[in-house]
Symmetry: D2
Subunit: 413 residues, 4 copies
Amino acid sequence: MSDVGVWLVGARGNIATTAMVGAKAIARGETDTTGMVSARRPVSRLDMPDVSDLAFGGHDIRTGSVPEDARRLAEENGMPHPSTVEAVADDLADVDDHVHVGTALNCGESVEALSNAELLEEDRTVAEIVERIRDDVDSFRRAEGLDRVVMVNVASSEPPVENPDDYATREAFESAVEGDDRDLPASSLYAYVALSEGHPYANFTPSAGSSLGGLRQLAREEGVPHMGNDGKTGESLVKAALGPMFAGRNLRVMSWEGHNILGNTDGQVLEDERNKAGKIESKGDILDGILDDDFHNRVRIDYTPSLDDWKTAWDYIHFEGFLDTEMKMQFTWEGSDSALAAPLALDLVRLLSNADERGESGLQTHLASFFKAPLDVDEHDLARQFTWLYDYVDRNAGEETPDGVTAETPTDD
Amino acid sequence: MSDVGVWLVGARGNIATTAMVGAKAIARGETDTTGMVSARRPVSRLDMPDVSDLAFGGHDIRTGSVPEDARRLAEENGMPHPSTVEAVADDLADVDDHVHVGTALNCGESVEALSNAELLEEDRTVAEIVERIRDDVDSFRRAEGLDRVVMVNVASSEPPVENPDDYATREAFESAVEGDDRDLPASSLYAYVALSEGHPYANFTPSAGSSLGGLRQLAREEGVPHMGNDGKTGESLVKAALGPMFAGRNLRVMSWEGHNILGNTDGQVLEDERNKAGKIESKGDILDGILDDDFHNRVRIDYTPSLDDWKTAWDYIHFEGFLDTEMKMQFTWEGSDSALAAPLALDLVRLLSNADERGESGLQTHLASFFKAPLDVDEHDLARQFTWLYDYVDRNAGEETPDGVTAETPTDD
Amino acid sequence: MSDVGVWLVGARGNIATTAMVGAKAIARGETDTTGMVSARRPVSRLDMPDVSDLAFGGHDIRTGSVPEDARRLAEENGMPHPSTVEAVADDLADVDDHVHVGTALNCGESVEALSNAELLEEDRTVAEIVERIRDDVDSFRRAEGLDRVVMVNVASSEPPVENPDDYATREAFESAVEGDDRDLPASSLYAYVALSEGHPYANFTPSAGSSLGGLRQLAREEGVPHMGNDGKTGESLVKAALGPMFAGRNLRVMSWEGHNILGNTDGQVLEDERNKAGKIESKGDILDGILDDDFHNRVRIDYTPSLDDWKTAWDYIHFEGFLDTEMKMQFTWEGSDSALAAPLALDLVRLLSNADERGESGLQTHLASFFKAPLDVDEHDLARQFTWLYDYVDRNAGEETPDGVTAETPTDD
Amino acid sequence: MSDVGVWLVGARGNIATTAMVGAKAIARGETDTTGMVSARRPVSRLDMPDVSDLAFGGHDIRTGSVPEDARRLAEENGMPHPSTVEAVADDLADVDDHVHVGTALNCGESVEALSNAELLEEDRTVAEIVERIRDDVDSFRRAEGLDRVVMVNVASSEPPVENPDDYATREAFESAVEGDDRDLPASSLYAYVALSEGHPYANFTPSAGSSLGGLRQLAREEGVPHMGNDGKTGESLVKAALGPMFAGRNLRVMSWEGHNILGNTDGQVLEDERNKAGKIESKGDILDGILDDDFHNRVRIDYTPSLDDWKTAWDYIHFEGFLDTEMKMQFTWEGSDSALAAPLALDLVRLLSNADERGESGLQTHLASFFKAPLDVDEHDLARQFTWLYDYVDRNAGEETPDGVTAETPTDD
């Protein structure tokens, strides 16, 4: 396996910080790979880079220090454990050289307000921003001697792009960059750099990222694998697992109310109705793909500062069964958003790296289970999405590793 | 399609009563088929008897009147709706001729205490009990001019059989019947009659039913389709849908606490620890088949009279994710047990009838999704069980019915 | 005890309908007084009119029939029971003569949209509207030969009055009426009629009602007892009971999230942000009066049509204890709003009738426990509010009724 | 204020450890007094010893080290915070000199199994055990130069005493001690030492403690204040707050199901049905004192190891309102048992110290709000119990402290 680097857009955020702490803690034997889909059969059968060997870099709109980001997260949130952070603090400090200030172009005022630095767009054209991002990524690749870099967007949600059709072709997108079209969203500029450099790309947010037509075309033409949008980590995951149960039993859902509260930066940014729009849409659509169209389907996302990173959801499902009998199911989910998301971000790096090595290109729809709004995928049944992934593994894994000789952690079998 | 009769063991209980009210109400256009798996694509593609055309009869340990049973259920439970009961009261009265007092042999004291009648075992040998059951079923078949009878056990849970290996062969079972072995459980005597008469059999309870080795052999030799055990209607259904989500995401469940409260006869009988034993076991095993072995897995079932038929469950799932982060999911389920179970009992009748007509015999493992403890099946992942059923339908359904010309209810597509 | 009539503003709504069905059902022995505070010790010690003897009339903005209103409610909602409605249908039909079309002045577009009739304001000045209301109430009083009428506002929530200070004195209010000030809200016109006629008044809604300064002055000067605002029936009741527990134990609430979903007309009207404003405020203020100021306190009210009258709330309380330990409490409340509110409306009638007979006048602050935003009361601790009521009873009840000879229902002791 | 010492029975358990960490952390300014009732108005008006000044000692059945106990608790439980433990580790080490191995006489096999030391009863008569306990407490008092020692029992629950009437008088109790009656429970031997030495005593457990008639007599005769039983910390607290709400509104509770799960030593000991008996009884009785007798009232306590000290409860309340309408309330409570209990133990020390200084003696019933089964108290309404405490403070507090000059923490006003 070649040397692989991870480029995190939003490198000082909770998900990125957790991913880095986790990878380093696994490398040092401080924790195991629980929570990583790629560390468990059958996915672990693929020939992927070891989590322990990944190098990290990225962009953010804040300056700071990765070890301090981790300490703050541990302090406010109780996750990761402070002793784990200290065990890997030196490793994290090494990452700092590769974390640069990036762009918040069209990320909305709420995101911009988080910045404590001079953003790239302040004195640059769009083309210059792109070049600067490209330089940063390339310096990382060269400094670390990497064969391959995978970019993952774990930044805050942007407002939806108003005219996505303006960027429907590669030519249109590239003309917009050259013509200093300042309606282009930051996430797509990053994705453009990744894909045009041949780096696999995953979009863990509902932002535009690589979903614009021009970037999809670019990925196909350049033979680069990519996938998005919006990591499926908590309430949405449960919806995707439970929805098919109601459908399969011919129970008629009348109302599915979902109320999410969270207190991290993500929650703060989603206070802004514009940024929230994309998020709500990708959460709501999951059920529409599974259940009949005509039910009451509401998703609320509210900001509750005291919860920090602990995303809590209450879902109330009012359904009708035999003889018009009305029944109810409720659930609450209390999860650390970063602890749920970070291992999936690492999974995507490992899976895209493997795909890239095997010459796959374009949308990786077999990764649908990782996303709330998987690009080009209408199927939202979690079990079917898992089956796609497992079938993909069956097709692409090499010989079965004999039991007991795997190099992975004990959760691996 | 030929004329099909349903023989309900436990014919005065809530599930049986609900099934009869529902079938008659569908026939009269008072309700639709919501809640019936067989009324929804893809299962509805099979050539099955119409629910509206089914004839009903059965055994119980109580005397009474089916319309009165239905009125009592509506009054105590709010389900079915009183106006629906009245709309079909005459139809229900017609069933009364075919509901006979049966046996509670080895059903435990709690069950016996429910009886208000002279049970068959009071002055008969086991062989005589069997003959009487056989006569009752046969009179029904002849009186209604039926081509086929499907027996479904919806009676209360029996205590586990102490020495099931004593009945491991057909010969051993039949010798026991002839030898007046009074350790034989009622459920297996009913199953014996069904299978030896060539009638398909489904066991919706955790009782022994057709699961004894001797009866399985009989079913194979006589070419009769059958399946069990224990209908999967509420909390267990949710477990089977949610468990694979945790497994698929490599989230380590540390504890899964399930607390069920219910107030119907089933709940009352389960107050008896002996009767509860089988139930707890079939509920608990679902997760063991999905998650790793070493977690804390408790199921409580308590009797709460005021709830009547409304089975309420609270499940608390304590799990660990990335970086040893502890997280929680809780759900509560409030379902009318009878409204959930009755349509599945009708589904099984329709599916077994179709199987019988096509010459299937022995265990019908593709029906695993209907059962908590499907015989000979280790797979408890609900989605995979659904897939088996759908694949079976694909293999055995005739030509696709053109859209819009189905004779079923509107929920059918 | 003299003959007492109840004048319901919003007489075709769910609360009014339930109150009338309940009173008539109690009179006919079809149900008992469960849910009525005044039917239970110690409040039942006061000399109040029997529920069974109350006469009913009122205004609404819809035409219709009280028995039909009741049947529709039973059908959609399962409450009251259909057989109870039928048992009192004739009694309800007698009320129809005294239910008139009233006014929706400044009730907002959402309320107006519910009307199917020509409202009083369509061709009348404010003074003429008032006269018409006065005539309707007076005809009722005379027709039924009543000694006393108590008016209760159970109509939908109005938007807050923009300039309440314009009506701070009796003179200002009356000048506004005479000057055809069309900013006056319907609820206050009704309250004006009641108070100026000497009829006690209770405002079960967050609308202005009798809370304007001019109307309070009028009540004092005319010696009429009145109280409001906004009946405390569900989630708010629980908050008022639980909040003091956290305070008394010095547990620091960091966040209290309340999410209400409901599907009745009230919910539909509250979809309108303007109508919702007053409701949210009175719900939120309860905790502010009990806990320290600086916590996150959000109340959401959403419209979920399938729930009809079943108001469901999820509250999530995030609090801190010793050694900065973060802990959580959650509750869900599933109540029939009308079944909770209607008995309290009847309680208020009985209590205000008793107060009026004993010559009380002005705000009845000892009734604070009935209201979310009790006028002139800062104390929101439910237990203290109950104590005020019980102390009031102690002061004003006659001799203790000897045990066993009460004329009330069995729940009365 | 004189120098006050705290003698903890169960000194190595979670509650004792948390109390000591908390007191020391408050002394060092590492945390505040959140969670302490005595640190909040109005109770803080009493002249009580500062938490910061308390000295600690105690008995346990395990050997060990207090700082290590604290580290283990922090590690397993996340509470207290590891950095807090380290900040006070030296202070905790100083306590070790005063923690001695005690007795587990009649504590049941589950408790004995926890011991890793030679218990006092192994080679001593009961009288000798008592003398040894007396010596240990007295050495502490002299070594620390204390004016006053308050003993608090925070050990595991004992099985109920079989023949409490055998110890109904002081003489009977003392004869039993002298006669080596080995049926005497450990908790009462400790209480005997405390009371006979003139040390106030609080029993935070459901064990017998000072509740035996003979010990009550002793306390009265010797003029020593004492109180118990069983600290009211979580689910029971909520019941005591919510129960009166249902009663006050004349809502008829039909069923109140309470299901507690916990994973600490307390939970482990309660796996033993004998030890559980007393606990269940004191939890269940709370509602019986508030609601009518004839409802279904079940309390379950189950051991769920992964939860450690996090006591989680689900309560389901099925109640009936107006027009026989069935409604439901559910709550879940997730609290760190030790973080809830420890500040109350410190409160009791401060309050009993103040009472002792003012010459109070016998049962301190105004402390009822602290206990699930307050001795000699039938009132379980939490608000009324709070009122008793506040009234007591009003009677016994000195001059009002002028605002702003209190020496207490900021939560104090």
